[in-house]
């Protein structure tokens, strides 16, 4: 059955990229103008858009390693979208350059509005921030390249016992991802409020990225599921596995979020509580409620049922909703900390996301179209369907 995988998924992917190209040019121009008008505000919008976009490739790296470790049909069918997303990491690194250069404008610990006390200042300073970002991207790109390269080799030569090789690097990849994303989340997002600290934040941020990547990959598989080579391969069994995993991920996310909230709320310390106090005014509580509704309650109730999981339409809707909620959640993390006007959306936010997501998606579709949509020598049938 793996032999139908030879057809390239090029045509549909190219159709997607044309629409994108048109939509991307205008927002980029507007974002450039926003930079000229109000650099701190524009940078803040840019940071948010960057975090939304970067969540998919970074999370894909973790998921790619996870599916090599656990095996299973869900991972095989999802492997190519994940690999394509991982191959966009160099572009993501490029997109980070404005943040690395603008850190001294954006972050309170660098722009003079907060002075870090002694040991902390060793961590929160611009050169260290840039250096660490370089390390994160280097680690991710190297690991992603190795995983991608081996996957190509497997397609080409089909060496025996290659799964074992994948597993050998997948474990360390997950570990390194966990470590790097923790510090990346502290650097990029948590340090916007330099007094605040939550030791679970790295895990919360990482699980969020994996969630983004997972729903994105589900959407990609569903999008191409009625075309070769995926047509006839994707069955109810796959959808059920996606649904079960998505259910697990949203539950983990909710568990981490609510734990952080309960602990900070009940301890009520002056270093920590302001984080939630800040987010209990204006639009923020409403937004939090919507995020919880879209990223937990709705997926939870839909995916708890057998039909909710196995139905491509409901699964697609849930995935889309979670992807949107992820953007809102990151906005809720980042925007209340802005030094500019607190409780309104900025117009630069509206252009920043399309300006970054457009080119990224274009690059992604190009990468996706370069390889067959299914690995050639790996069986994509769910385990229970094997008794044919």
């Amino acid at each position: 059955m793996a032999s139908d995988g030879t057809t390239h998924g090029g045509t549909p992917a190219q159709q997607l990229s044309l629409i994108n190209l048109l939509g991307a040019v205008l927002p980029i121009g507007l974002l450039a103008w926003a930079f000229a008008m109000n650099p701190p505000a524009a940078l803040r919008s840019y940071l948010w858009a960057f975090c939304v976009v970067a969540a998919v490739p970074c999370g894909s790296l973790a998921l790619l390693a996870l599916q090599h470790l656990t095996g299973g049909a869900w991972g095989v069918t999802m492997r190519r979208p994940l690999e394509a997303a991982v191959r966009t990491l160099p572009l993501v690194a490029l997109l980070f350059v404005p943040l690395a250069l603008g850190a001294h404008i954006l972050y309170p610990w660098a722009n003079g509005s907060y002075t870090a006390p002694y040991p902390k200042s060793l961590y929160l300073n611009v050169p260290a921030f840039q250096l660490r970002a370089g390390v994160y991207f280097a680690v991710w790109i190297v690991l992603g390249t190795v995983l991608n390269y081996w996957s190509t080799r497997q397609d080409r030569e089909n060496p025996p016992d290659f799964d074992r090789r994948f597993r050998l690097i997948a474990g360390p990849t997950l570990g390194l991802y966990g470590l790097t994303i923790t510090f990346a989340s502290i650097d990029w997002v948590m340090s916007l409020e330099p007094m605040w600290f939550s030791s679970i934040f790295g895990v919360l941020f990482g699980v969020g990225q994996i969630l983004s990547a997972f729903v994105f990959a589900i959407l990609m598989v569903l999008l191409f599921s009625d075309r070769p080579p995926l047509r006839g391969v994707i069955r109810a069994g796959h959808l059920r596995d996606y649904g079960s995993l998505l259910l697990a991920f949203v539950m983990i996310w909710m568990y981490l979020s609510i734990s952080q909230f309960i602990l900070i709320w009940s301890a009520n310390l002056k270093e920590e509580a302001p984080y939630y106090v800040e987010r209990s005014h204006g639009i923020w509580p409403i937004m939090a409620g919507l995020v919880v509704l879209a990223q937990f309650f709705t997926p939870f109730l839909v995916l708890l049922t057998r039909d909710g999981k196995r139905n491509a339409r409901s699964l697609g809707w849930v995935a889309g909703m979670v992807l949107a909620a992820r953007a809102a959640e990151l906005y809720w993390f980042i925007a209340p900390a802005r030094p500019v006007d607190h409780h309104t959306l900025l117009w630069s936010d509206l252009v920043a996301l399309p300006a970054l997501a457009g080119p990224w998606f274009l690059f992604f579709t190009w990468q996706l179209s370069r390889r067959p949509l299914l690995p050639l020598h790996v069986d994509p049938t769910p385990a229970e369907d094997h008794h044919g």
């Binding site: 961590y123 570990g175 966990g178 600290f197 939550s198 030791s199 895990v203 952080q260 602990l263 008794h387």
Partner: protein, 458 residues
């Protein structure tokens, strides 16, 4: 396409077995095997230690909690350390039986029965501690929201009261899950035993199981529902335990990473205990065909994965102290590294972080001795972890004028050793009177069960 299934089946069950040989082999441990010297030795040892436990409890009830080493700054000592240690150990049982069942990991089949039993025994040991820590345990029902003339209510904002509900729910659902899983095997024992008493006891416990299709259908539904119920419980119990600490603002306790870090630690400790029990049991009872190297290796992998998660927790604790630049958090780290209990902290690192790293290698994961030693180290390390968290934080918190020292008294130790004895006793009784491996689930691993099962569908 039955090939992949057959190979997986072989890995978790040695080849050459039939339905009858599995039933014979497992039920013989209970029914026909004579009481051996080794069993007698183990049971006697456990029983003596249980007597030590009862002596301690008697003294405790007569004299009071003053016989323990608790003092003014250190109000939680061995009692809470051991409570957390035991309850953590229990988690592996539920994880193996519920989560791995839902994930359709068929390698769980031969180890789930005694892992679940281990859960129940560990929770029994754990439950003793907070109960006796109350000082007047006969008032335990005050923990329940019972209407009373003094209008005294539990403090619902305290995680300690959540613990009462979390642990009792966990214990009752785990017991139910274990018992439901036992019913078909109890019926097998009822049918095969030659003694009249055995027929009566197993017959009553089997609740009239006749192997009818209807029975099996209801059984499957009940078992899967209970598995679904158990899954959140695994997470909730240790999360609430972590809240017991994290809600307090004591340095070293209030960390938002505590909930997942405690859950990972519980699974880490639990799998170590499963390995400690599993390795001798399979050797003594000749169960190498059922509990294969594949099982041990998989457990080794889980041990390594949870070791890394726990290490992440330690790393974040250190980083927090540095990043927050908070005097008290910084001092806590200093105290851990250079204070009077520094040895415990270094020993904890050695046992929990360094020793398990050997599991990166396949030769280590497939060597029973290495696995056994690593598991022992982890069990010690996880005890030390709770010691470090509880005693180090309490003995030196904010005001130097309120600092103190803590050490366990002989009664603390006798209570700890006594609960280990209780655990051993219960385990040996279980080995003697109930099938240690799920007979009917093992039969489903046979290749012929696969063909019969799915043949008509395709």
């Amino acid at each position: 396409m039955t090939e992949p299934q057959a190979t997986t089946g072989q890995q978790v069950l040695a080849p050459g077995h039939s339905m009858a040989s599995i039933t014979d082999k497992v039920s013989a441990i209970v029914l026909t095997r004579p009481v051996g010297k080794r069993w007698l030795f183990g049971f006697t040892l456990g029983f003596i230690l249980t007597c030590v436990l009862f002596t301690t409890i008697a003294n405790l009830l007569v004299t009071g909690v003053g016989i323990w080493g608790l003092n003014a700054p250190v109000g939680w000592g061995f009692d809470i350390i051991n409570f957390v240690w035991w309850i953590g150990i229990g988690h592996a049982g539920t994880l193996i039986s519920a989560i791995l069942l839902l994930l359709r990991q068929n390698w769980r089949t031969s180890i789930n029965r005694f892992a679940e039993a281990m859960t129940l025994f560990a929770v029994s040991c754990a439950g003793l501690y907070p109960l006796l820590h109350m000082g007047r345990p006969w008032f335990f029902y005050w923990l329940m929201p019972i209407p009373n003339t003094m209008e005294l209510w539990p403090q619902w904002r305290s995680p300690l009261i959540w613990d009462v509900f979390a642990v009792s729910t966990y214990a009752s659902v785990s017991a139910l899950f274990w018992y439901v899983g036992l019913i078909p095997d109890l019926a097998t024992l009822r049918d095969r035993t030659t003694s009249r008493l055995g027929r009566m006891v197993y017959g009553v416990l089997a609740m009239g199981w006749r192997n009818s299709a209807k029975h099996w259908h209801q059984y499957e539904t009940a078992y899967n529902l209970l598995a679904g119920l158990c899954t959140p419980l695994v997470v909730s119990v240790h999360t609430v335990v972590s809240f017991d600490f994290a809600v307090g603002v004591v340095p070293g306790w209030h960390a938002t990473v505590f909930p997942p870090y405690f859950v990972a630690g519980a699974i880490f400790a639990g799998f170590a205990m499963v390995l400690i029990l599993c390795i001798p049991i399979r050797a003594v009872y000749g169960l190498q065909d059922f509990i294969t190297m594949k099982h041990l290796e998989n457990m080794g992998k889980i041990l390594l994965a949870t070791c890394l998660m726990v290490s992440y927790g330690y790393a974040m604790e250190i980083f927090t102290a540095f990043y927050t630049a908070n005097t008290y958090e910084e001092y806590l780290m200093h105290n851990r590294l250079h204070g009077p209990y520094a040895t415990s902290y270094y020993a904890l690192w050695f046992c929990n972080l360094i020793v398990p790293q050997v599991l990166w290698f396949k030769w280590a994961r497939t060597n029973v001795w290495v696995l056994f030693i690593v598991s022992l180290a982890v069990s010690v390390g996880m005890w030390l972890e709770r010691f470090v968290i509880i005693v180090l934080s309490l003995s030196r918190d904010f005001m130097p004028s309120m600092w103190g020292q803590y050490r366990g008294t002989p009664w603390d130790w006798s209570m700890y050793v006594g609960t280990i004895g209780l655990f051993i006793t219960l385990l040996f009784l279980f080995l003697r009177f109930l099938p240690v491996i799920s007979i009917f689930e093992m039969r489903t691993l046979l290749p012929e069960a696969k063909v019969g099962d799915h043949g008509e569908h395709s």
